[in-house]
């Protein structure tokens, strides 16, 4: 047996042993009164607060959305920043492979000429599919308050529609719709929208991301609706960044950073 294998087995056995040792101490699975779900005596339960009060605070029925975009909105902003940083890191790493930012020679569009029948079928089907996917993605972004979904999921689906274009015809066809300069801009604008909502709250003399004070700007009745609408705003910001960066990561990985040819 190779040396790393022995080491791996020892490490895995030790770690697994420690973890399993701890498992026996856990509250049972599915217990509604466990400390995570209810509370330990003497403190107020955070999760019960979310379930019982968050609709009053934000008027958003999907508790996950309201916790994600409002109570823990600061985390979500940095989640978006993580995506952006990953995109930037990938551009920086793969950019050195083939000079990614050299001006590309604009070739003719994908030619569905004779002889390549399978491509015509795939290309046409995907072309029909893309608008449906995009409309669904917009629905997911906009309807995140009432059903599962939100900026991140919708953004990934929107990016998937561009990836389908790239897969079915070629990368250039997708890059013509969302070019290198534009996806970078879109990503920055997304985070700026998110942080902009937060800073707007600071300008109105409250804490960062305290959407309630945006009521006079958003012309809503009551700070709760202001929170609800601002959440939609930041979700759109998240969707911008995620769409742009997810597509950009695919475009760079599939073309080794050259942004030509693709798969």
């Amino acid at each position: 047996m190779r040396l790393p294998n022995m080491f791996a087995i020892i490490a895995v056995v030790i770690t697994g042993g420690i973890l399993l040792y701890g498992v026996s101490d856990f509250p049972s699975f599915g217990d509604p009164k466990s400390p995570a779900n209810a509370a330990v005596p003497g403190s107020e339960s955070v999760s019960q607060y979310f379930i019982t009060k968050s609709y009053k605070d934000t008027k958003v029925p999907n508790l996950v959305t309201s916790v994600l975009a409002d109570y823990r909105g600061y985390d979500t902003m940095f989640e978006t920043v993580v995506i952006f940083a990953a995109g930037m890191a990938i551009f920086a790493i793969l950019g050195s492979v083939g000079g990614g930012s050299q001006p590309r020679v604009q070739e003719e569009g994908p030619s569905f000429v004779d002889g390549d029948h399978s491509r015509i079928i795939v290309g046409t089907t995907c072309r029909l599919l893309v608008p449906v996917i995009q409309v669904f993605a917009l629905y997911v972004i906009g309807h995140g308050h009432y059903s599962p979904g939100g900026g991140f999921q919708g953004g990934v689906i929107l990016a998937a529609s561009f990836i389908i274009i790239a897969l079915s015809s070629d990368l250039d066809a997708a890059l013509r719709r969302l070019s290198e300069v534009n996806y970078l801009r879109l990503a920055c604008v997304g985070i700026l929208i998110y942080a902009g909502f937060g800073v707007l709250c600071q300008v109105l003399e409250s804490n960062f991301l305290d959407y309630g004070v945006l009521q006079p700007i958003l012309l809503t009745d009551g700070p709760e609706m202001a929170r609800s609408h601002s959440m939609l705003g930041v979700e759109i910001g998240v969707a911008f960044t995620v769409t742009a960066i997810m597509f950009a990561i695919y475009a760079n990985l599939s073309s080794r950073g050259t942004l030509r040819d693709g798969l």
């Binding site: 599915g30 379930i51 790493i93």
Partner: protein, 158 residues
């Protein structure tokens, strides 16, 4: 055996599986030779942790953490009684007055945390894959032992 199953395994079954998955991931991370395999191991490792977190928020017989915003159930019931206007009134005042029972709804907080963790996972995977492509371009191989040999030999030109 049955007793062991009832008392030890069943209440913590998810937690046992999370440990097993995590150890599979960790083992692949250390022992696998191929870099892509290592990355698959890394992803499994991360999903195991997400499994742990989501298992925390599960409650027996609980529903998903989305409220019924328009009180559709009540609305339908009221409609069946023929009192539509009253049903609408009910819809407006739903939840505003009566807050839901926390035991009937899954804990939303671990879900929120894990959304972030999934995003972090895919971002890390993307960066790692791009580095793997760079390594393949530089060394012409994705096998760790071959790469280490090339590094030690210092024989391949740039």
């Amino acid at each position: 055996m049955a007793e062991f199953f009832e008392q030890t395994l069943q209440p913590h079954f998810n937690f046992w599986i999370y440990v097993i998955l995590m150890m599979i991931g960790l083992w692949a991370l250390i022992a696998k030779n191929n870099l892509i395999k290592k990355l698959i191991g890394m992803s499994i490792f991360q999903t195991a942790i997400i499994l742990f977190y989501v298992s925390l928020g599960v409650k027996e017989d609980a529903t998903i953490p989305i409220l019924d915003p328009y009180g559709q159930a009540e609305h339908a019931a009221a409609e069946a009684e023929g009192a539509e206007t009253e049903g609408e009134k009910k819809r407006d005042s739903y939840i505003g007055k009566k807050s839901p029972d926390p035991d009937t709804m899954a804990n939303p907080l671990p879900h929120v945390l894990m959304l972030t963790a999934i995003v972090v996972g895919v971002a890390t995977l993307g960066v790692a894959l791009s580095i793997a492509q760079m390594i393949f371009k530089e060394f012409g191989s994705l096998e760790e032992d071959e790469i280490l040999e090339i590094v030690k030999g210092g024989s391949v030109d740039d």
